[in-house]
Symmetry: C2
Subunit: 486 residues, 2 copies
C-alpha cells in the first residue's frame, strides 16, 4: 500500500510499556500489520523494568537512539515508580523530543452508550505539551508559602495554535476554539489569545472563536457537538481533554499523538492499569486508534482510514470489551480479531473522516523569537518573608529606600495591595511582594547595580527570597498591577 509505494518499508519504534501496555500494543501491531502497509518495527524498552535496573530516567540510550533514527513511536503506557522521586518516563520522552503538541481526537463511538449518544460528538483537543505550569519550576518562598512558575512563550503559543489550524485544514474542519483564562492572566494566557487572534487571520475559511476556559468546560458538557478543534494551554488542556474523553465512554476510546517538529509519538491516553494487566481483558481501541493516527502521520492515509472504519464497524456490531459492559464482553485478542476481520468494512451509521496529511510549517528556530526595539527597567519587586504587619514592613522599607534611587510604591500579599493601607480584611501570610520603582530615569547599567545595592540594604533587615525586575518593553509596562494598586 502507500508506504510500499514510496520504495522502502517505514520503520517505527515500538515500546510495549507496562501493565496492560504489552497487550494493547500487540493488538495495535496486529491490526496495522493486517492492513498490509509496508512497515517494520524496532522493539525498544522503557518504563518499569528500566527503572528497576537503576536507570533514573526509565528510558535507555538504545531507545533514544532508535527514536532519533525512526522519528515515529508507537508506545504503551509507562508506569512511574511511586514514591521514588523519579520523573515520569512518559513525560521524559515528551520533553526530550520536544513534542510540543498533544492531539486527542474525541468522537462518539457507535455501540458505546453514553449520556451524549446520538449527538455526534466529533472534536479534537490540541493541547500545548511542554510549557506552562508543567515546566514544574517550584520554589518554597517561606516555610508555609509555595510558588510554581507558569511560563508561556510566544513561540510555544504560535506553534500550538498553528498546529490546531493545520489540523483543522487537514481534517476539513470548520471551526477552531481557543480556550484561555486571558481575562485574569493577561500576560501569560493572554499571550495565547493574542497568538490565536493573529494566526486566525491566515485561515479566513475557518471560524475562530476564543472562549474562557471555565465557560469552555461548561459548554463541553452542555453542547459538546458544537466543538470542532479546541486549542489550549498545557494545564487547561490536561483538564479539558480528560473531560472530553469522559463524554464518549472513557479512556478506553481516547487515542493520542504527541507531535514534535521532527518526531511524533502515538499512545493511548490511559495508564498502565496494573489491576487488569496480563488478563487479556483490556480495551485495545484507544491504542488501535492511536496506531491509525500513526499510519496517517507516515502518509498511509488509506490504511489509517481502514483501521478507523474497521474499529467503528466492530463497535457498531456490539462487539465490546468488559470496560463497556461486562455482559457479552470478549477478550482483548478476540476484539482485535474482530477488528482485523472487519478491515475493508465500515459502520453503517458513521464513517472515519477524510484527512489530508498535516503540513505543519516550521517556525523560526530563533531563541529570541520576539525582539524588542526599546526597553527600560522601571523598578523591582522584592519578595520578602516577614511575620510583621504590613504597616511595620512598609515603614521599614520606606526608611531603607530613603536616599536610594527607588521609592516603595506598594506592598501586596498574594496579589492584593496591603500597603499603603486600604480598608481590606486581607488575612496576610508571611510572603510580601514589595514594589520599588525608580525615582528618576537612569542608564540601564546603573539601574542594574542600584537594584542590587537596594537589595543589599533590604537584606540587612529583612529576609528576601525572590526578585523580579519591572520591565518596560517598547514603551509598555511588562508587569501587572496588584489588586487595589493604581
Amino acid at each position: 500500500m502507500e508506504g510500499a509505494a514510496r520504495g522502502e518499508a517505514r520503520c517505527v519504534t515500538v515500546i510495549a510499556g507496562d501493565g496492560i501496555g504489552p497487550e494493547v500494543v500487540s493488538a495495535a501491531r496486529r491490526v496495522v500489520e493486517a492492513t498490509g502497509v509496508a512497515l517494520t518495527w524496532e522493539v525498544c524498552e522503557a518504563g518499569e523494568r528500566v527503572f528497576a535496573r537503576g536507570l533514573p530516567s526509565g528510558v535507555p540510550q538504545e531507545t533514544l537512539d532508535s527514536i532519533q533514527r525512526t522519528r515515529v513511536v508507537l508506545k504503551g503506557p509507562l508506569a512511574t515508580p511511586i514514591g521514588s522521586g523519579q520523573k515520569s518516563a512518559n513525560v521524559t520522552l515528551r520533553k526530550l523530543f520536544e513534542t510540543f503538541g498533544n492531539v486527542r481526537p474525541i468522537r462518539e463511538m457507535p455501540g458505546v452508550a453514553t449520556p451524549f449518544s446520538g449527538r455526534g460528538i466529533d472534536l479534537v483537543v490540541v493541547r500545548e505539551n511542554v510549557e506552562d505550569l508543567y515546566a514544574g519550576i517550584e520554589h518554597l518562598q517561606t516555610p508555609g508559602v509555595a510558588q510554581c512558575l507558569k511560563i508561556m512563550s510566544r513561540k510555544g503559543c504560535d506553534k500550538i495554535v498553528r498546529l490546531a489550524f493545520e489540523i483543522a485544514v487537514a481534517e476539513g474542519r470548520r471551526r477552531v476554539h481557543c480556550a484561555t483564562k486571558a481575562n485574569i492572566m493577561k500576560l501569560t494566557e493572554g499571550m495565547m489569545k493574542r497568538a490565536f487572534d493573529d494566526i486566525a487571520l491566515e485561515y479566513p475559511t475557518i471560524e475562530a472563536r476564543h472562549i474562557l476556559v471555565d465557560n469552555c468546560a461548561h459548554q463541553l458538557v452542555r453542547s459538546p457537538e458544537t466543538f470542532d478543534v479546541l486549542v489550549t494551554s498545557n494545564m487547561n488542556g490536561d483538564i479539558l481533554s480528560d473531560l472530553t474523553s469522559g463524554l464518549i465512554g472513557g479512556l478506553g476510546f481516547a487515542p493520542g499523538a504527541n507531535i514534535g517538529a521532527d518526531i511524533a509519538m502515538f499512545e493511548a491516553v490511559h495508564g498502565s492499569a496494573p489491576d487488569i494487566a496480563g488478563r487479556n481483558v483490556a480495551n485495545p481501541t484507544a491504542l488501535i486508534l492511536s496506531a491509525a493516527m500513526m499510519l496517517r502521520h507516515t502518509g498511509a492515509l488509506d490504511a489509517a482510514r481502514a483501521v478507523e472504519d474497521a474499529t467503528l464497524a466492530t463497535l457498531e456490531q456490539g462487539v465490546h470489551t468488559a470496560d463497556v459492559r461486562a455482559e457479552g464482553s470478549i477478550s482483548t485478542t478476540a476484539f482485535t480479531d474482530a477488528v482485523i476481520e472487519n478491515l475493508g468494512r465500515h459502520a453503517t451509521t458513521t464513517r472515519a473522516r477524510e484527512h489530508r496529511e498535516v503540513r505543519m510549517p516550521r517556525l523560526s528556530p530563533a531563541r529570541d523569537y520576539v525582539r524588542a526595539e526599546r526597553r527600560r527597567t522601571a523598578g523591582v519587586d522584592v519578595f520578602i518573608e516577614a511575620a510583621s504587619s504590613p504597616e511595620e514592613l512598609g515603614q521599614s522599607l520606606e526608611r531603607i529606600a530613603e536616599d536610594t534611587a527607588f521609592r516603595l510604591k506598594m506592598i501586596s500579599n498574594r496579589g492584593t495591595k496591603v500597603y499603603p493601607a486600604v480598608s481590606a480584611a486581607t488575612d496576610c501570610v508571611d510572603h510580601w511582594r514589595c514594589r520599588f520603582v525608580l525615582r528618576d530615569a537612569a542608564p540601564e547599567r546603573e539601574v542594574d547595580l542600584a537594584i542590587l545595592a537596594l537589595v543589599a540594604r533590604v537584606a540587612l533587615q529583612h529576609r528576601w527570597m525572590h526578585l523580579e525586575k519591572l520591565l518596560e518593553i517598547d514603551g509598555v509596562e511588562a508587569f501587572t498591577k496588584a489588586q487595589g494598586e493604581d
Copy 2:
C-alpha cells in the same frame, strides 16, 4: 421566625447589580420576605454606574461601610467595563473582604431535563477563592516569554479544606474529594493535598479521597453522582465548578456563596446577561437559591429549607423560564410568584437537605503560620535572557562563577535541563534558568552578599530579570529539580 426569635431583625446589605441583576435580586428579596423572616435590607450600589461616575474600583465607600456593618451581602452580578483596564468589582469585593471560600452547591433540578437527569447529582464544590494564579502576579520575562506566579499558602489550604469538611458535617454528607495536580506540582498543589491528608484525620466519619484534577473532570462527566463535597484550588475550581453547573441545566440553576472569616456574600454564578436585561425573562432560580444559602448562614435554617423546597416544587410542576424551554415559559416575576405560592410545599420526588449551621473554626491569624526550625540558603536560580546557545551561555557562566562561592550546576529552558548537554531536541526560547549552588557551607549573612556579588558579575555580561534563592528548610530542599537534572 428564627431571626425574630433572636430579638432583632438581621440586617443584610443588598446590591442589585447590573444587567439582569435588579430583576433577579428583586425576585430573591420577595421570596425571602414572603418567608416572614425578620430581616431588613441596606440597599447599596456597586458596578457599572459606579465605574461610570469615575470610581475605578466600582465599589463606593458607603457600600464597603455597609458590608463592614452587616457582614452579610446578597448581590446581583456586576459588569466590568470592557477594555477599560479596570479590575472586576466582583473580584474586588471578594479580595477586600477576604472571602476565601467559594461554595457552589449543584443538584439535579426536577423538571429540568439534562443528559444526567435521574441520576441524583447532589454535590458541593468548595473552591479556594483568593490565592493561586488568581493573585494575578505576572511579569514579562523577555519580550516573548511571560510568567505568572502560582502562589499557594498552607494557611490558605488549611482554611479551604477545613471549610469543606465543616460543610460536609453541616450537611450530613459522607465524602470529601480533594482535586489537585500534586503529581506535577509537588510543592504548590502538593501543599493542598498534604493539608487535606492531615485535616481528614480529624473527621474520621467522613470518607476522604484525593483525586487528580484531570481525572476528576473525567469522573464528573462519567459518574457525577459519586461526588459529594469537592474541594480544590482556585484555578482548578474555576473550571470544575463551571463544569458541574453544566451538568444540571446551566448557570440559571447555580447558586453561590463567598465565605470569609467575618463576612459572607451570596450571589449567583451567572453574569449580568445584558442581552436579556430589563425584559423580565431572566431565570431567578440561582439568586433565589443563593438567598436560601444566605438565610441558612444567618441561622434561619427553616426559612432556608422552605425557600429551597418551594423552588424545587415549582420546577417540578413544570413552571419554568425561557432558558429551560421557550415553550410554555413564563416571566421572571411570574416564576417568582409561583415560588412564593409554593412556600410551605415541597417537591414529591426530592426534598431540600437538612442542614446544621456551618461551624468554621477560626484558624491562627499568624502570618508566619508555618515556622521553620532550621534553614539554609543552598544557592540561587538566576533567570537570564539570552539568544545564545545553551553551550555558549553555560560556558560563559562557568567562567563567571570561577573564583566565586558558587558553581553553575545546570541550565534549564522552560523546565528541561539543557546544560550540561543532554541528548534532547529542546526548542529553546530566550529565557534560561541558571542554577548556581554554593561550593562550601558559609554563614547565611555571607551567602546573601555572595549571591548579590555573583549577580553583579553576571550582569556585566548578561541580562537577568529574576532571581530565586534556593532554600533548604528543616533539612529538606525547598525547590524542585529540572527535567533531566540529577
